[in-house]
């Protein structure tokens, strides 16, 4: 009898412990945050020759962490494993030029956007696609879907039968899948740097990636033959822009990041840092 009572008592204690846990998590005070990035997606994040991380997001994260009054550690890992690793608790936040898409929102939470560039094409100088029309024009899939589709229809005959390189699981890959799949051959790469190498080598005819990325890519000496061509697309499933990826179970951390990003927008930090790293203002409107 005594034994049974003891078992029931300990079971109750465990149950009480379990029940009090969510309450504890809610007022969890964040003092240390581990942020994961890719380290291979300049100018968002890049690895310098000495192995240290640098880039727009690295500098911005320092500002955000100061504002949130937390101690941050930044680690680098491959892009396609970021979301599973976040949910597995390997780190607390993702800042890797990751767009807040609907599909990703099913699995993780996002802060507000800290930068929006749109997706653009790049090809080789002197190539057939160098004269792609609508250069620099911006089409939003959210507010002007019909216009975007019309632009794509205009591009279709020009890119028919060409090979395009995109990063696996990127929003550029999704864009090609939705709009151009029936006319182009798609090759998927682990990193955007790899599709640049193949563009220069002539294995693919053009690539699609974020405008912010392409702008720095074409400035690299090895990519001197690369040019940005054709229209830009943003909005809709292309996402509102890059946001901090967070676990759904950490709403208080999301609140902290939202607050810090709003402050960075308000005091011009995003404008200053994006002009430094991208050469144009990324402040999301």
């Amino acid at each position: 009898m005594k034994k049974t009572t003891a078992i029931i008592a300990s079971a109750l204690a465990v149950a009480a412990g379990l029940m009090s846990m969510p309450a504890k998590a809610e007022d969890k005070k964040w003092t240390k945050v581990t942020i994961a990035t890719e380290g291979a997606f300049p100018p968002y994040n890049l690895t310098k020759a000495d192995g240290t991380l640098d880039g727009y997001e690295i500098e911005l994260s320092k500002y955000l962490c100061d504002h949130m009054k937390v101690e941050c550690t930044i680690i680098a890992q491959s892009f396609d494993g970021l979301i599973p690793a976040l949910n597995a608790g390997k780190f607390d936040a993702i800042m890797a030029g990751m767009s807040a898409t609907e599909k990703r929102k099913e699995v993780i939470d996002f802060s507000m956007s800290y930068g929006s560039t749109g997706q653009a094409f790049a090809t080789l100088k002197g190539g057939e696609l160098e004269t792609l029309p609508m250069k620099g024009e911006l089409f939003s899939l959210a507010s002007n879907e019909a216009g975007a589709r019309k632009a794509v229809d205009e591009l279709k005959p020009l890119v028919e039968g060409k090979t395009i390189g995109v990063q696996t699981a990127s929003i550029a890959a999704r864009f090609i899948d939705e709009y151009l799949k029936d006319v182009v051959e798609v090759r998927e790469y682990k990193t955007t740097e790899q599709h640049d190498l193949d563009l220069v080598a002539g294995r693919v005819d053009f690539v699609m990636a974020s405008m912010g990325y392409l702008k720095t890519a074409v400035e690299k000496p090895a990519n001197s033959d690369m040019v940005i061509v054709g229209p830009r697309f943003q909005g809709g499933f292309l996402g509102a822009g890059s946001s901090v990826g967070l676990r759904k179970s950490d709403p208080e951390l999301k609140a902290l990041f939202d607050d810090a990003i709003a402050a960075a927008k308000a005091d011009g930090t995003i404008k200053r840092l994006s002009e430094k790293w991208f050469g144009f203002d990324l402040t999301p409107q």
């Binding site: 396609d80 599973p84 090759r187 998927e188 193949d198 080598a201 002539g202 294995r203």
Partner: protein, 240 residues
């Protein structure tokens, strides 16, 4: 574990099976020819050939296959001379770059396995064959090679299994073989366990079939290890 999702994944991954098999079969076939050449070079007694084969094996066995694939695909294409050479139509294609890397790599390992097989043939047999008046080529064909093959087969079976698994590295140069498709499905669905379990099962099935084939070949090549056939009834009467 979501069974419905795992089944869908299974069918998507199965569509990539032909590419995996093609990569493995082509590179093993081409690699075995190169391996035999290298093993013969090692045993030729010609110093230049011997040193070349040693250096080759040292280089390809001592560096990771992943690095070799990267260097052949992204490395070679950096040189305009390569891009303007007659090899470019082949090197331009990720498939042939992968085959080339896998073939060069397996040749290094397999040449050592074949060399071991060739060395296992007792020298006395070669001398006996020579005494019977056989020429060098005939000795090789009738005496050395059949026994070397028998000795090398278990080790070579291992190497073939390694190659089937090594094709998974081809996904890093845009080839959508089983692992490439699996990685794509994971990055779209964020479900790691189901996809990799299914991919693992497919590799397991390929290698099961392969090990059965190797076991069958071993059985055929080793009549001396099989139990003797039962003596027929007519002979039984006459035996004593």
């Amino acid at each position: 574990m979501d069974i419905q999702f795992a089944l869908e994944t299974f069918w998507s991954l199965l569509s990539a099976l032909p590419l995996t098999l093609k990569l493995a079969a082509t590179s093993i076939a081409l690699g075995s020819v190169l391996a035999l050449g290298l093993a013969l070079a090692r045993l030729s007694g010609n110093l230049a050939l011997d040193l070349f084969a040693r250096a080759y094996v040292f280089l390809f066995r001592g560096t990771p296959l992943l690095v070799q694939i990267f260097l052949i695909y992204y490395g070679l294409s950096q040189f305009p001379a390569v891009r303007h050479s007659i090899f470019w139509p082949l090197l331009r294609e990720p498939y042939w770059c992968a085959v080339l890397a896998l073939m060069l790599n397996t040749a290094a390992y397999a040449s050592e396995i074949i060399r071991g097989g060739l060395l296992s043939v007792p020298h006395g047999q070669v001398e006996a064959a020579r005494a019977c008046g056989m020429g060098r080529f005939m000795i090789f064909r009738r005496i050395v090679m059949p026994q070397a093959l028998r000795q090398a087969l278990p080790g070579y079976g291992n190497e073939m299994i390694s190659m089937v698994k090594a094709t998974s590295l081809a996904s890093i140069i845009t080839l959508m073989e089983i692992t490439g498709v699996a990685a794509k499905i994971i990055s779209e669905s964020y479900r790691v366990i189901e996809v990799f379990v299914v991919a693992g099962v497919i590799y397991l099935a390929i290698n099961f079939a392969l090990t059965r084939l190797v076991a069958f070949a071993e059985h055929r090549l080793n009549p001396q290890l099989r139990p003797p056939l039962p003596i027929s009834a007519e002979l039984k009467g006459e035996a004593h």
